[in-house]
Structure formats: structure tokens, C-alpha cells
Amino acid sequence: MDKLTELEKENRELIAQIKSNADAQDRSMTLPPLDITDSEPGMLRRRIPSWIAVAAMLAGVVIGIAMPKLGSTANDNNTAFNYADTCRSIAQDDVNLSLLITSL
């Protein structure tokens, strides 16, 4: 018999108490809701920080509109649109941004 098995045997009561405490704690909590469907595996409702998505989207739109007016070179335009695209990509992790843009 190895040392651990021996120790576990010696402390059988303590281990039983640990298990029973854990079971009691688990029973005292309710599970959060889980909203899943077979038809749309990618579209799951979850507690998302939607303000992050909206802020990223607005920043992208504002910069996308404002930047070309600040400078007149093609590089500025590219930078602005690249930035807007990046913000949109970030936001798309959490919300269906294309729907939001369409609605705007």
C-alpha cells in the first residue's frame, strides 16, 4: 500500500465530511439558465458585455467617418477603414454586427 492510500485510509472520516460539505453546497445553488438549440449552433445567448461590442462598433464607425476628413491622402483612408474593420471584427465575436449596421 502506498503512502497516499494509507493516509486516505487514516483520514476516511475527514474525507467523508469534505465530500458531504461539498454536496450540501452544490445542492444549495441553482444553475444559471442555458439557452442552446440544435438549429443555430453558432448563435448562443450568453451574458455578453454588449457595451463593449457597441462601443467598439461606434468607435469604428466614428473613426471610419472622421479620419478621411482629417487627411486627404489615400493612406489615411486605408488606415481609417482598416481600423474600422478591426473594430468590427472584434465586435463580431459577441454580436451579429452586420445586423446592427444594417439597422443603423
Partner: protein
């Protein structure tokens, strides 16, 4: 076997409380955080269900991802030490006439709460979730010998703490 939504809901009802309890104890009894982590865990499991090997235990798969989430959570929010400091003040209050029993439970929770995170996780998986040494080794991605030695140290520490404070 492909996991359907119905099968998955059944698995959620069966294993969700265990995962939530594990998060609860690993985060120093932060109930809100434990709920959020549980919800996030099952969303992750659902979205990555294609990678689930039905020959493998669902519990092992679930706890592997849960453990990785915890490691990220520790890194993101605060240090393990801060969680441990919170352990005492977030302890659930139970209404019981058995004050002695309550006192023993509190000491036990405190003893487990003081374990360093690597020992604590193997301790909880072994004595609360009753996983085998092989399963724990797979979940924590460490050799079985390391699991054994961490368990030995952790159980000795809990026993001593309990004896000294009883």
C-alpha cells in the same frame, strides 16, 4: 456520438451543479462568479461539442476546460492569494442548530481555502468530485506521480490544520 441539444441539457443538469460547486470553492465562495463561470463553461462545451470524444468521460472533458478557465480567470482578475483572502468572508452562512458541526465545517473550509492553488485543485477533484488519479492527471496535464505527491501534501496540511483548530 454527436451531442444534441437535448442530450446536452441532460448533461448540464447532471454535471452542472458539480462544475458550479467546483468553481465556487476554487474562487473563495464567490457565488456570482461561480454562476458566470458555469454558464460560460457550458457554452464553451456546447460550441466545441464537435471535438468531444464520446469514448472519453464527459466529466474529465468538462473539468479540463473548467480548470483552464480558472487559470485564465486567476490571471485576468486577481491573484490566487486574493481569492484565498476572500475565502473567509464569502463563506456561506448555514442555519443549523448543530453549532459544533458548523464549526467543524467552517474549519474544514478554511483549511482547504488555505491550500495553494495547484494542491487545492487536485484535492477538490479527488475528494469532492471523486475522480481517479489518472483523470486528475489528464485534467491538470501533470504526471500521475505529481498528482499523488500534491494530494499527499494537501491532505496532510488539511488534517493538521483541522486538528490544530478543532
Amino acid at each position: 456520438m454527436r451531442l444534441t441539444a437535448d442530450t446536452f441539457r441532460t448533461l448540464y443538469l447532471e454535471h452542472g451543479p458539480r462544475a458550479q460547486g467546483f468553481f465556487l470553492r476554487m474562487t473563495g465562495f464567490d457565488r456570482e462568479l461561480a454562476r458566470d463561470l458555469t454558464q460560460d463553461l457550458f457554452m464553451r462545451l456546447w460550441t466545441s461539442r464537435e471535438s468531444y470524444d464520446s469514448g472519453r468521460s464527459f466529466r474529465t472533458w468538462m473539468f479540463s476546460i473548467a480548470y483552464n478557465m480558472l487559470k485564465n480567470e486567476y490571471r485576468r482578475r486577481m491573484t490566487v492569494m486574493e481569492y484565498m483572502e476572500n475565502a473567509d468572508k464569502n463563506e456561506p452562512v448555514t442555519e443549523t442548530d448543530h453549532l459544533e458541526q458548523e464549526q467543524r465545517d467552517r474549519i474544514l473550509r478554511s483549511a482547504i481555502g488555505h491550500l495553494p492553488e495547484p494542491q487545492k485543485v487536485v484535492f477538490l477533484l479527488r475528494y469532492e468530485e471523486e475522480l481517479t488519479l489518472t483523470e486528475i492527471a489528464r485534467i491538470c496535464n501533470i504526471p500521475e506521480g505529481t498528482v499523488k505527491s500534491r494530494l499527499f501534501t494537501a491532505l496532510t496540511a488539511v488534517r493538521n490544520y483541522f486538528k490544530n483548530n478543532e
